[in-house]
């Protein structure tokens, strides 16, 4: 694992991988979207059910991204590896993006389903807090000029903030909420019909591929930026 963590190796490898990953993301999203619209309207929810295919994977990716960021932070603190910093830093904006997407689609869905854009229920609220965690993380990165210092400070923050993940995940069990309980990934099999499950599955894969495409792109620019900056610093003295 660590041998791929050499920035040079990473640049070569990611450069080769990116086009493929991008293509896979596009393909999955295209098929997933087609199936989403091909699926029959839900007998209760009508056409609004289609929001699910955008909403649920976005929420998943948003949480996965935080997990990834925390993991990279741990590696960065323990092994002091610059690539882990870059990964964590690059994941944050997209995590925030998907969080915002899930929030927006969720509240658009809430209007027909619950009659309001927003309720202060445990899952929604804890998810909103996730957005703030991302924003705080990004703000801290921007606020500390020194690169290594910023990386380590942010790593500490990301690890401390990890406590929120289980709260989001289990909020539906711990508190009675308006929001849907576990209905897809649950012990005893999904509660959803196959016609909805397939597009959802494809969309989830597509979102994942999209996320990693964006992540790799961002990491590459970040690494190039750092090289330029180091050169500039080397001249300044």
């Amino acid at each position: 694992m660590l041998e791929y963590a050499n920035p040079k190796r990473f640049m070569d490898l990611s450069g080769a991988l990116l086009p493929w990953l991008g293509a896979v993301a596009a393909l999955l999203l295209a098929v997933g979207l087609y199936l989403s619209f091909a699926a029959p309207p839900d007998y209760q929810q009508g056409d609004t059910v289609r929001i699910m295919f955008v909403h649920v994977p976005a929420a998943w990716i948003a949480m996965m991204a935080y997990g990834l960021m925390a993991l990279a932070s741990l590696v960065s603190l323990v092994n002091r590896h610059p690539l882990a910093d870059v990964a964590a830093k690059s994941a944050a904006p997209f995590g925030a993006l998907f969080t915002a997407l899930a929030l927006i689609t969720g509240s658009l869905w809430g209007r027909p389903m619950w009659g309001t854009y927003w309720v202060w229920d445990a899952r929604l609220t804890s998810f909103l807090i996730l957005l703030f965690l991302y924003l705080g993380y990004i703000a801290l990165w921007n606020a500390i000029e020194d690169e290594t210092r910023a990386a380590r400070a942010c790593a500490i923050l990301a690890l401390v903030g990890v406590v929120n993940l289980p709260i989001i995940e289990f909020s539906v069990q711990w508190w009675s909420t308006l929001h849907q309980g576990e209905s897809i990934v649950r012990a005893g099999g999904p509660l959803i019909a196959g016609v909805f499950l397939w597009p959802l599955f494809l969309m989830a894969l597509g979102y994942t591929a999209l996320f990693f495409t964006l992540l790799l792109l961002r990491m590459r620019t970040e690494i190039l930026d750092r090289r330029v900056r180091t050169l500039a610093l080397g001249r300044g003295r």
Binding site: T116, W118, W120, T125, G136, A139, A143
Partner: protein, 221 residues
Amino acid sequence: MSAWRALVMRDIRLATRAGGSAMLALAFFAAVAVLLPFGVGTDLKVLGRIAAGVLWVAAVLAALLALDRLFQADFEDGSLDLIALGPLPLEVVVLAKMTAHWLTTGLPLTILSPLMALLFGLEPRAYPALLASLAVGTLAISAIGGIGAGLTLSIRRGGLILPLLVLPLLSPAVIFGAGAVLAAIDGLPSAAMGLLAAFAFTAVVVSPFAAAAAVRLNLAG
């Protein structure tokens, strides 16, 4: 004029740079507004009722926090001496700093407020009143806050004493501002908006002189 522009631009740049106050004031505003329903309970009917008050208080606090170092950072590192010796009268310097403060906090707070109001389920017809009252009211906050910032300049831990000085002075703004929104919720006519505007106007006219006097006093110390 170009000196004035240079100063305002510098302060805006400092506020929007890394660790600057503009984005953060926004985030703080949102965070406080979000925190409250935790404690208050999540009944949208209650929340819609208290939305105006909560948003107003959150806006005042966010703007105040950004005010804290309006002059103090410049005072501590010696920049304020240099600025005081510049071509502008201190009253104008102070006004430039208040302007930059409003542009980087009051204005963005106002723009963000409808989104927050949505979370609280504020009556739709009260939105114009919310926007108008915040736009005008934050002017008063920047102006009166500037006096406080000038007075607390030489106090290292000014961060806390500042709200204490300024909050009582600002309470009319909160009363009129939130009052205007409450009246709009009920669809009642109200003089609150007019009173708020008069209050803000007075504050903007008087504050530069008071704040400049306070700053001058601290420089001489």
